[in-house]
């Protein structure tokens, strides 16, 4: 193990809402000594309401500002917790960013996977293009297998060692 591998990681938890999953993950990573922050939407701009009214899978307007924040923050990993957040993370990676992990905060369900415009396309893009897709709960893992035919590993939010191991593996793969 080199000194670089032991150095704390800079992790952006990308999530448009401040749910308990992001808070638990943030707490665990910080306790383990990593520089972790939550990047998400600030307020609901009027355009967002228009997009919502027009049937789009919202929020979407936070994507450009999150990409900019990811670029400014020089993060190693962007860990997205929704398909829209994964879109921001993937755009950041395309512009020279680091690894992208996608862990849906809510279990995917038939009722919500294609309920709005772009919903399914965003989910498929997050699954296809992220460096790793990981479930945070057993329910999410089972739902991902049932509805998206994808067997994904499970790492619970409080398992900082598990996350660190995954992040470092992804970063090593990118070198």
């Amino acid at each position: 193990v080199t000194a670089g591998e032991r150095a704390p990681l800079r992790i952006a938890l990308v999530h448009h809402s401040s749910g308990p999953v992001a808070a638990e993950l943030l707490q665990a990573l910080r306790t383990a000594g990593h520089r972790a922050e939550v990047l998400g939407a600030r307020g609901v701009p009027p355009v967002e309401k228009v997009l919502r009214y027009r049937g789009f899978a919202t929020p979407l307007t936070h994507v450009p500002s999150v990409v900019a924040a990811l670029r400014r923050g020089r993060y190693d990993v962007a860990h997205a917790l929704s398909p829209q957040d994964a879109l921001a993370a993937l755009l950041w990676r395309r512009r020279g960013g680091g690894a992208v992990v996608f862990s849906p905060a809510e279990p995917p369900s038939r009722e919500t996977l294609a309920d709005r415009r772009l919903s399914l396309r965003l989910v498929q893009r997050a699954l296809d293009e992220s460096d790793a897709v990981v479930a945070l709960t057993d329910t999410t893992r089972a739902a991902t297998a049932r509805w998206l035919a994808l067997e994904v590993p499970l790492i619970e939010a409080h398992d900082a060692a598990g996350w660190e191991s995954l992040y470092r593996e992804l970063l090593a793969r990118r070198r």
Binding site: Y53, A114, D115, R117, L120, A149
Partner: protein
């Protein structure tokens, strides 16, 4: 001992829609008809992970894999029913989600009407109603009141012997192959009975403008269908338009052309053209008022003048 033959085979063609096919298989997994009474045959020509998905699903469907890009819907459905073992063939599509009692209801109707084709009701998927409501180019299928003239294969059951006697789907038909089969069946004296309680929900696809233009180009093949079945014109508005929307679109186009013609009086100068364009909506309203006025007069004086 020989394994008992299923009563009905469900045939599903699939093309590059692995995720939606998965959702269909999940819906079929919840069918109330005992699994021993039906079998599932999936036919695909996809390049995505469809084979893995079908092979590993709990339903363990039988499948036919065609060379990628070679399977039009009619080719796939023919391969499907030919591979099936049951005397009744229920067709649905990879972008549908049948209700749990769908197959049971279709089978009840088939037993009550031996030899008949049975068509269920198809509705836009309520899970995707927001997209249907708001997406400007959303598309789905709605057939609330079967039997309809299009006899869509997203929710229909045929006796296998009937399909065999008709030679299956016409593989020259790139679109409308389901209508063609039903028209040939009707010509052979078979009836289509309704099973409105056998409900399948159809996906709502929302497209980009170039995407839907590309997709709509396939409807040019419907002319082949009408050329083979001139009697189908009886179901068409004015025996000319595929549906009412086409009739109104054509009418609107004629209206726009009329407005363009009448705007020529402003001359060919740049200012004249700008003025003409600005006046066009007003011209359209004026012309519409004239036509409506004359239509009202026609009713009053019992002679048609437009």
């Amino acid at each position: 001992m020989e394994a008992s033959r299923p009563e009905v085979s469900v045939v599903v063609p699939s093309h590059e829609r692995g995720t939606r096919l998965r959702w269909l298989l999940n819906a079929l997994e919840e069918q109330t008809l005992p699994r021993s009474q039906w079998e599932l045959v999936v036919v695909f020509d996809s390049t995505d992970d469809t084979e893995e998905l079908v092979r590993t699903h709990a339903l363990a469907p039988r499948y036919v894999r065609l060379t990628p890009g070679t399977g039009t819907a009619s080719v796939q459905r023919n391969a499907g029913w030919r591979a099936a073992h049951a005397p009744l063939i229920a067709f649905t599509d990879d972008d549908c989600r049948p209700e749990p009692d769908w197959l049971e209801r279709l089978l009840d109707a088939a037993h009550a009407n031996p030899g008949a084709i049975v068509q269920g009701a198809t509705r836009p998927d309520p899970f995707e109603s927001d997209a249907m409501k708001w997406a400007p180019r959303a598309r789905s299928i709605e057939e609330n009141d079967p039997p309809g003239p299009h006899a869509q294969t997203c929710n229909i059951l045929y006796p296998r012997a009937l399909i065999e006697s008709l030679g299956g789907f016409d593989e020259r038909a790139v679109a409308g192959e389901d209508v063609d089969l039903s028209l040939r069946a009707r010509s052979a004296g078979r009836s289509i009975v309704a099973a409105p309680e056998a409900v399948a929900y159809h996906a709502v696809e929302s497209h980009t403008l170039p995407g839907i233009v590309r997709q709509n180009l396939k409807w040019r093949y419907l002319a082949y269908l009408v050329s083979r079945h001139p009697e189908f014109r009886r179901t068409m508005p004015l025996r000319l338009f595929w549906d009412e929307e086409h009739l109104w679109t054509a009418t609107a186009m004629v209206g726009v052309l009329g407005a363009v013609r009448s705007s020529r009086r402003r001359g060919r100068s740049r200012q004249g053209r700008v003025t003409a364009i600005a006046e066009m909506p007003g011209q359209a309203v004026r012309q519409a008022a004239e036509v409506l006025g004359m239509a009202a007069g026609s009713v009053r004086h019992r002679t048609l003048v437009l």
